[in-house]
């Protein structure tokens, strides 16, 4: 193996594996990717995986079992840089939208008292609930251009600036007529950019699948949608769909209210 190349491991926890699949979908760039990096472990594409020291670990999916907690901790110990790769790893994904109490009830409803022999399930959480994460790349799945840009910069030792901006920025670049202003419940202002505002480009409202943008203002959007006549429960559901654990603090205020 080439000593100059950075050693990379790509791991999948609980998720749809779409982000890892996206890497294999970079067909024109695959040779460049494998030439530029020493891919040590990538279960989806190769069988001779080596689990040793790593320069960079890309971790996809959220943590939902005790085995995954152990696996994640092992990855952290071996890797110099850990990247939360995709929405589930970054914020917990759709499976992390429930609070602990709700999760326990749901679990009971579906599995009852069934004994789990292989591993014990835990409430779904993003990977930074268990380990220190160096870099985040949200997306559901991560965009191809976004991944290649991120990956190339990480390889060059210059990860992209953490520059949080919402979907609205690209949406305006694309000169779309603002859906929110037309009374359509678009989550563009709350959602991290990276998708190229693909839904508003097709006149469909943003559903928030890149997860909450840093610096977003959920309170204002919530009251704005409420004022536009949307049902409170429907707004909460829409806003919590992809926000994982990141808007927990925001939703906490409603629990206090209802008490």
């Amino acid at each position: 193996m080439n000593k100059d190349k950075l050693k990379i491991g790509i791991y999948e926890l609980t998720g749809c594996a779409g982000c890892a699949l996206l890497i294999t979908d970079c067909e024109m760039e695959l040779i460049d990717i494998f030439n530029a990096a020493d891919i040590q472990s990538f279960l989806m594409v190769k069988s001779d995986n080596i689990e040793g020291e790593l320069d960079i670990a890309l971790v996809e999916g959220s943590v939902t079992t005790e085995n995954e907690i152990e696996e994640l901790k092992d990855i952290r110990e071996r890797a110099k840089v850990v990247v939360a790769f995709g929405l589930c790893a970054s914020v917990g994904g759709i499976q992390a939208r429930f609070g602990n109490k709700e999760w326990k009830e749901n679990y009971q409803k579906i599995y009852g008292d069934m004994e789990m022999t292989h591993t014990k399930p835990v409430q779904s959480k993003p990977i930074d609930a268990y380990i220190d994460v160096d870099l985040y790349l949200p997306g559901c799945p991560v965009g191809k251009e976004q991944f290649l840009h991120f990956f190339t910069r990480v390889l060059k030792g210059a990860p992209p600036e953490k520059y949080p901006r919402p979907v609205c920025v690209t949406c305006k670049y694309n000169e779309n007529d603002c859906l929110l202003n037309k009374g359509i419940p678009c989550l563009g202002p709350l959602t991290a950019d990276g998708c190229g505002s693909i839904c508003p480009n097709h006149n469909l409202p943003c559903t928030g699948c890149w997860g909450p943008a840093e610096g977003a203002n959920p309170t204002s959007e919530y009251f704005l949608l409420k004022e536009k006549g949307f049902d409170i429960e429907a707004i909460k559901k829409r806003m919590s769909n992809y926000s994982g654990t990141k808007l927990a603090e925001f939703f906490e205020q409603f629990k206090k209210e209802s008490k």
Binding site: E29, A36, T152, A158, E161, K172, D177, N181, S220
Partner: protein, 353 residues
């Protein structure tokens, strides 16, 4: 300055002659009630019955995202591929004023070659307009133009009165002089004056921009800014649609498999969280209210102090764009102690309940 007349039926013929070697930008319909500037080949797509486009013509000079140069360890290759011969037709007085402001901005201390080259290659063919309830250009004195255009078309039913604003504009007329009539009749002049008078009366907005620098100073610690900060979605739309906002961010985009990088430039927005972030992770304006103060200080105060006029041309884009009603109109009126019915006022009452 010279003034000529063009029959409306001859417009397309004239446009065809002048646009042969240039990208021809004109307003077209994007949705039933929204317009955008677009490169067109079919003149029948032109829609001059518009008030404002979603994005201002600054996008034609400097695209929202473009490559500035390519750099490797040994070489630096500038990239001016965004520069081409362009004609912008149908641009309104407020947007022409905005370009004049941009011209100053990008040349007063450091000449920005990316703007300058694009601007030098662009002909400005203005067109008269009619205000709607959001237009504030009479208050900013940008509803009429005296400079910044090559030709300016004033619509008088079946003819255009065409003002020639530059020698480049004159050259265009000379490509087909027989289309133009140099003799304006008394009737034409009367029609022109009458239109001007009626248009002046059609403005419904009046903002006291002269008072803004003082009011900004006096109300810098006012609770108004907290209210605005509470509601601001920090979406960056106000700055993106503003024809005079010119901040940008520069990013390295290394090319996979090659030992070089594209250095790209995209529009930035002072209302975004990391705009005032610096090395070491510090951020001078973490609060949304502080960022809005920066934006409005620039528009309503510091630019007036420096250049004698606001950095707002009254186009009304922020008014129709901001989902939470934070715009030059509502902010100016509030600074001037007028009660305005806005989402941010209502939100403030809602959250303090």
């Amino acid at each position: 300055m010279k003034i000529v007349k063009l029959k409306k039926t001859n417009l397309f013929l004239f446009l065809e002659i002048i646009s042969k070697e240039a990208d021809f930008w004109a307003p077209v319909k994007k949705s039933p009630d929204k317009h955008i500037f677009e490169v067109i080949e079919d003149f029948s797509k032109i829609n001059l019955d518009y008030t404002r486009t979603i994005l201002p013509p600054k996008k034609i000079m400097l695209p929202s995202d473009f490559n500035m140069f390519q750099a490797s360890n040994t070489k630096y290759t500038p990239d001016f591929s965004h520069v081409s011969k362009k004609i912008i037709f149908g641009i309104h007085p407020c947007d022409i004023h905005a370009l004049v402001i941009m011209d100053k901005f990008y040349s007063h201390e450091y000449n920005d070659p990316y703007y300058q080259k694009a601007r030098d290659n662009t002909l400005i063919l203005g067109h008269s307009c009619w205000p709607d309830e959001y237009c504030m250009c009479k208050s900013t004195h940008t509803h009429v133009v005296k400079e910044g255009y090559d030709l300016f078309f004033t619509d008088l039913e079946d003819t255009y009165v065409v003002w020639i604003g530059s020698s480049r504009g004159d050259d265009l007329i000379r490509l087909k002089p027989e289309l133009f009539d140099e003799d304006l009749t008394d009737k034409d002049i009367q029609n022109f004056s009458q239109r001007r008078e009626e248009r002046d009366k059609a403005f419904t907005n009046d903002i006291n921009f002269e008072a803004m620098p003082d009011l900004m100073e006096l109300k810098y610690q006012n609770l108004l800014w907290d209210k605005l900060g509470e509601a601001c979605l920090a979406c960056g739309s106000c700055t993106n649609v503003c024809p005079t906002c010119n901040c940008y961010n520069v990013e390295d985009k290394p090319i996979l498999g090659k030992n070089c990088s594209n250095i790209s430039r995209c529009w930035d927005s002072c209302t975004l969280e990391n705009y005032s972030g610096v090395a070491g992770g510090e951020n001078f304006r973490e609060k949304r209210s502080d960022r809005l103060k920066l934006f409005y200080t620039h528009k309503l105060q510091s630019y007036i102090s420096k250049y004698g006029k606001p950095a707002c041309v009254g186009c009304g884009r922020c008014v129709v764009t901001c989902p939470v009603d934070i715009n030059v109109y509502t902010v100016s009126k509030s600074l001037d102690n007028e009660e305005v019915d806005t989402f941010w006022n209502r939100l403030s009452k809602e959250v303090t309940k």
